[in-house]
C-alpha cells in the first residue's frame, strides 16, 4: 500500500476502456454465434433436451440461466482476489447455489405452473457446465464489467438455442407456440398430424444437430473447429 498502489490506478485511468469498447462488445457477442456454449462448446446439453418441449418454459429457463451466469460471473469477479485458489470451486458453488435458489423461489412464488414444468432443472442450473465453465475460464481472471458481459453473452447464447429448439419442437410436436394454436384446424382436417417424435427428447438432439450443421455452413470461422 505504498507508491505502487497509488500509481497503479493512474495507469489504469489512462487506459480505461469505454463501457462498450470493441473488446467488451466481442466478449458479449462471441458466445452468441462464434463461440456458442451449446453448439460450439457442446455444454449444457442435458437441460437443452429436457426443457425445450414448449417455448414458454424454455424462455423462462433461458432468463433464469442468463440471470445466474451474469451475476455469478459478476460476484466471482468482484471476489476473485480474495478467493483462495484451493477452495475456489466451493466458493463458486455457494455463489451459484445462492443465485439459483433465488431464481427457484421467485419462480415458485410468481409462476408456479412453469416452475412445476421445469421441476428439477432449475435446481440443476447449479451443475450446468456453462455456469461453472465461465466462472473458471473467465470471471476468475477478469474485471467485473467484462465478466458480467461475458455472463450475459453466454446466458443469451444458451437461451437462443433453447428457444429455437423449443419453437421447432412445440410447433411440430403440438402445433402450438407459447400455448396458442398456430397450425390451423383445416390442416388437421386435411390429414395433417402432429409429429410425435418432436415431443420426445431425441428430437432436441436432431434439432441441435441440424442447427450445428447449418451454423457451420454459414460461419466460416467454425469450419475447422472439431
Amino acid at each position: 500500500m505504498s507508491v505502487e498502489s497509488t500509481s497503479a490506478p493512474a495507469v489504469q485511468e489512462k487506459k480505461k476502456e469505454a463501457l462498450f469498447s470493441k473488446k467488451n462488445i466481442r466478449t458479449l457477442r462471441d458466445p452468441l454465434d462464434d463461440n456458442n456454449p451449446i453448439t460450439v462448446q457442446v455444454l449444457g446439453i442435458c437441460s437443452a433436451l429436457a426443457v425445450t418441449v414448449q417455448v414458454k418454459p424454455a424462455l423462462i429457463m433461458a432468463v433464469g440461466v442468463i440471470f445466474v451466469t451474469a451475476f455469478s460471473n459478476l460476484i466471482t469477479s468482484l471476489l476473485r482476489n480474495s478467493i483462495p485458489n484451493r477452495v475456489r470451486i466451493i466458493v463458486q458453488l455457494i455463489i451459484v447455489a445462492t443465485l439459483v435458489t433465488i431464481v427457484d423461489q421467485v419462480l415458485k412464488a410468481y409462476m408456479f405452473d412453469v416452475s412445476k414444468k421445469l421441476s428439477v432443472f432449475v435446481g440443476l442450473i447449479i451443475t450446468n457446465c456453462i455456469v461453472m465453465g465461465r466462472l473458471e475460464a473467465f470471471a476468475l481472471a477478469q474485471k467485473p464489467w467484462p465478466s458480467f458481459l461475458d455472463g450475459v453473452g453466454n446466458g443469451v447464447g444458451y437461451g437462443i438455442i433453447l428457444v429455437v429448439v423449443a419453437i421447432f419442437r412445440e410447433l411440430f410436436g403440438a402445433g402450438t407456440l407459447m400455448g396458442y394454436h398456430v397450425i390451423p384446424q383445416w390442416a388437421y382436417d386435411h390429414g395433417y398430424v402432429n409429429n410425435g417424435l418432436m415431443v420426445l427428447p431425441p428430437a432436441a438432439l436432431f434439432v441441435i444437430g441440424v442447427y450445428i450443421w447449418a451454423q457451420r455452413s454459414w460461419n466460416k470461422k467454425l469450419v475447422n473447429v472439431s
Binding site: V193, G196, L200, V210
Partner: protein, 385 residues
C-alpha cells in the same frame, strides 16, 4: 437409343464449364450416366476397374426386390377383398394393390431424389445412385394406408439426416430406409401400428366381414401364440403387414439373387437366421410351463416367418455400407441382430417391429465390432511372431 444419345450430346455443352446451366451439371451428369455408360476414364492413379460399379450393384438389389414388390402388391389386394369377403381373381387382386402401392413408390422417389438433386447441385458432386434402392425399400416397409405426405416426409428426413449430413451415399452409418421407417414409427405411432395394415376403402354393397381383425401376427403372438396362422400361410405371406414384408418366400428369391450375384453377403443372412433360431430355442427352453400361451413358447422357426424378419435380414441387414465389413464381424453382427429381434419381440410388446430396431442398433455397433475384430487379429499375429 441413338435418338436419346443425340439429344444428350446436343444439350451437353450448356451444362459444361462456361455453359448456361453450369450449376446444374450434376443433375445432367446423373441423367447421362443413368442412360449411358460414361465415356471418360480416370486421369491418374491406379483403379480397380469392374463392370460391377455402384449403379450395377444398386440395379441388382432392385431386381432382387421385384419379387417382394409384386407379391406385396398382390397381397394388398388379396387382404382388401378378404376383409370384405369378396372373391377376386389373381389379376384383380394385383391391380387393386398396384394402384395403391404405385403412388407410395412414386412419392418416395420424388421426395428423396429431389433432396439428392438439390444437394448435388449445391455441393457440386455427382448425384449418387444410393437412393435408387432406398427409394424402393421405404414403400415396401410401410403399411399400405400410410398417408403420402408422411412417406414424403420420411424420405426427406432419411436422405437429409441419414445420408447427406454425413456426406452422402457411402457415408451413412445407418440404413437410410430403416431410418425413414423408424422416424415414422416414432413420429406418427397412430399410423404405424394398430388396425392399419389392410386397405379398407369401402366397397359398394359389401360390409367388412365379421371376425375381421386388423392385428398383425406380431401383435397376436404376444397375447396367445396359438392364434397365429399356419406356418405355411406365414411362409407364403397370406397375412397382414407392411407392403413388402409379409412373404418369406419372396424374400428367399431375393436372397438367392443377392447371394448368387455376390451383392449381398451370405454370411450376414445366414447368421441372422442362426441368431433367431438360437435365441428362439433358448427362450423356448426357459419358457414357464404354467403359462402355456406365453410368447416364449413360440417355436423358434415361427420367428423366421413372422413380421418383417425375412425382409430385414435379406435387404436391410446386408446393406454393405452400414453392416460390419470384416468376415468374423459379419457373423457377430448377424447373430446379434437375430438374437435381439427375438428378445424384443417376446419381451417388449410396445415395439413389435423388433427387426427394424435391432438392425439399426447393430448398424451403430458395426464399426465397433469391426474394430475389435481387427484389433484381436493384430494381437493374435503379434503373439505368434
Amino acid at each position: 437409343m441413338k435418338f436419346l444419345q443425340n439429344i444428350i450430346h446436343s444439350i451437353k455443352p450448356h451444362f459444361e464449364k462456361g455453359g448456361r446451366f453450369e450449376k446444374l451439371y450434376p443433375a445432367f451428369e446423373a441423367l447421362e450416366t443413368f442412360l449411358f455408360v460414361p465415356g471418360e476414364t480416370t486421369a491418374h492413379g491406379v483403379h480397380v476397374r469392374d463392370a460391377m460399379d455402384l449403379k450395377r450393384t444398386m440395379m441388382t438389389v432392385i431386381i432382387a426386390l421385384v419379387p417382394t414388390m409384386l407379391f406385396g402388391m398382390w397381397n394388398v389386394g388379396y387382404q382388401h377383398y378378404l376383409a370384405y369377403g369378396m372373391e377376386a381373381t389373381l389379376m384383380e387382386n394385383f391391380m387393386f394393390g398396384f394402384w395403391k402401392v404405385l403412388p407410395i413408390i412414386v412419392v418416395s422417389y420424388a421426395a428423396g431424389l429431389g433432396v439428392e438433386f438439390i444437394f448435388s447441385v449445391l455441393r457440386g458432386h455427382p448425384v449418387s445412385e444410393g437412393y435408387l434402392v432406398t427409394g424402393l425399400l421405404i414403400p415396401l416397409t410401410l403399411p399400405v394406408n400410410c398417408p403420402l405426405w408422411m412417406v414424403a416426409l420420411a424420405a426427406v428426413f432419411c436422405t437429409l439426416l441419414g445420408k447427406e449430413i454425413f456426406g452422402g451415399t457411402g457415408m451413412n452409418f445407418m440404413n437410410p430406409a430403416l431410418l425413414a421407417r423408424a422416424f415414422l414409427f416414432f413420429a406418427f405411432p397412430a399410423y404405424m401400428s394398430g388396425d392399419i395394415w389392410t386397405d379398407l376403402s369401402p366397397e359398394a354393397g359389401h360390409a367388412i366381414v365379421d371376425g375381421f381383425s386388423g392385428a398383425t401376427n406380431l401383435v397376436t403372438f404376444d397375447v396367445n401364440f396359438h392364434n397365429l396362422p399356419s406356418a405355411s400361410d406365414m411362409f407364403w405371406g397370406f397375412e397382414q403387414g407392411s407392403i413388402g414384408e409379409t412373404s418369406a418366400a419372396a424374400c428367399l428369391i431375393g436372397a438367392l439373387i443377392l447371394i448368387i450375384t455376390g451383392v449381398g453377403s451370405w454370411q450376414i443372412i445366414v447368421s441372422c437366421v442362426l441368431g433367431v433360431l438360437g435365441m428362439g430355442l433358448v427362450l423356448q427352453g426357459l419358457a414357464p410351463a404354467d403359462m402355456p400361451n406365453h410368447a416364449m413358447h413360440t417355436p423358434a422357426y415361427y420367428h423366421l416367418l413372422m413380421g418383417g424378419f425375412a425382409f430385414g435380414a435379406v435387404y436391410m441387414a446386408t446393406d454393405p455400407v452400414s453392416a460390419a465389413q470384416t468376415e468374423r464381424g459379419k457373423w457377430i453382427y448377424g447373430l446379434l441382430i437375430g438374437a435381439f429381434t427375438v428378445i424384443l419381440r417376446v419381451f417388449n410388446p410396445a415395439y413389435p417391429e423388433a427387426v427394424m430396431l435391432s438392425i439399426l442398433l447393430m448398424n451403430v455397433f458395426a464399426p465397433l465390432i469391426d474394430h475389435m475384430v481387427v484389433e484381436q487379429h493384430i494381437k493374435k499375429r503379434l503373439k505368434r511372431a
